[in-house]
Symmetry: C2
Subunit: 236 residues, 2 copies
Amino acid sequence: MAKIPVLEIFGPTIQGEGMVIGQKTMFVRTSGCDYSCAWCDSAFTWDGSQKPTLLTPKAIIEELDRLGLSRTGHVTLSGGNPLLHKALGELVTLLKKRDISLAVETQATFWQDWLLEIDDITLSPKPPSSGMTTDFDKLDSFIDKLGSANYSLKIVIFDEADYAFAKQLYVRYPNVPFYIQPGNAETEQSDERAASAYLLERYEWLIERATNCDTMIHARVLPQLHTLVWGNRQGV
Amino acid sequence: MAKIPVLEIFGPTIQGEGMVIGQKTMFVRTSGCDYSCAWCDSAFTWDGSQKPTLLTPKAIIEELDRLGLSRTGHVTLSGGNPLLHKALGELVTLLKKRDISLAVETQATFWQDWLLEIDDITLSPKPPSSGMTTDFDKLDSFIDKLGSANYSLKIVIFDEADYAFAKQLYVRYPNVPFYIQPGNAETEQSDERAASAYLLERYEWLIERATNCDTMIHARVLPQLHTLVWGNRQGV
């Protein structure tokens, strides 16, 4: 079996954001990313500050089992960009055989065929504040390939330029379930209550912005629940 | 047109809980309830402290339009128990003609045929801490009638007895999307930050409880977002 560079395996916990918000899940976080977003809240997956462990799919499942897979039934593949890893396909197949539901989040820049076996796919193109540029033609064909898969768009929003980017996507993909989420500019804040107060203020700002918007009629506006509860801690 | 006893019409805002959490929506809150839950957070709908206004469906829509229905596209019918009001059927028909999506929350004790036109139906049987008793035979036939409608169960949980009640429902209706939500015992707390700190603690407790549970494998654990953001204020 090919090995996968893994940075952390944790849970059971809940999915803190997006289309399956609140879902009991476990996380497998791979290392490596083709992006380097200015405000990345998981920069340790690509900035060299933490070293991944190379694990076979079987070893990953052993660790999930040890932590509590049997009482969860749902695994989230996260990164970094998990779509960099073709070898995740073996893990996906093994987990689906055990009737585990799977979620993935990706910026939708690299395709892997195993994506079509995923139950909940979150596409998160990055807004201008990230410093990254979205290739819309590439995104179009990525979304075409998804066909009838269960997917959504989720855009992180820090400011008006990001909001305009989200509107552009909303209009371009009118039939895709659409989530917006306030950005977290204080990923270094270590006081949990200060972190949650700040995030609730940013969430209130985004609600106000979205409810006064006549473009994104059917958007869903959600915070990052795990950050509200646990602050900026890793591994929850 | 028959008139409907309305306590408040507000929005645009977001849906704070359950299956369409985060959705941009507007609220029509009817008065009257066949229950009187010990911890009801909208007791003003049934305790006589606030008087409803009798409004025709047309008048309700005029008010929704004035507030911003065109930039929302989604209305939540809430109470009290909105299923007490047969006349809501006319409002539902008029809103559906305008391509507005609709959500309802009810304890599932009274049936109305207009329910089958609703896009997102939340059934919220009340746990022991409410002081109410669920008639499971009645709930069975209510759920039978829903057929292929889009519905979910949502249970508020204050303590271990409530948790046991939720497990019972989870096992009884294994194919129904299932949400659990921490109860708010401090509905009189007027300080917003104190309210959100308390609710985040209760939410963390429920996450801990649920992630260690091998019965409710696929449950989704969600807080009340509107209370986190705005505290116990009415009209948001």
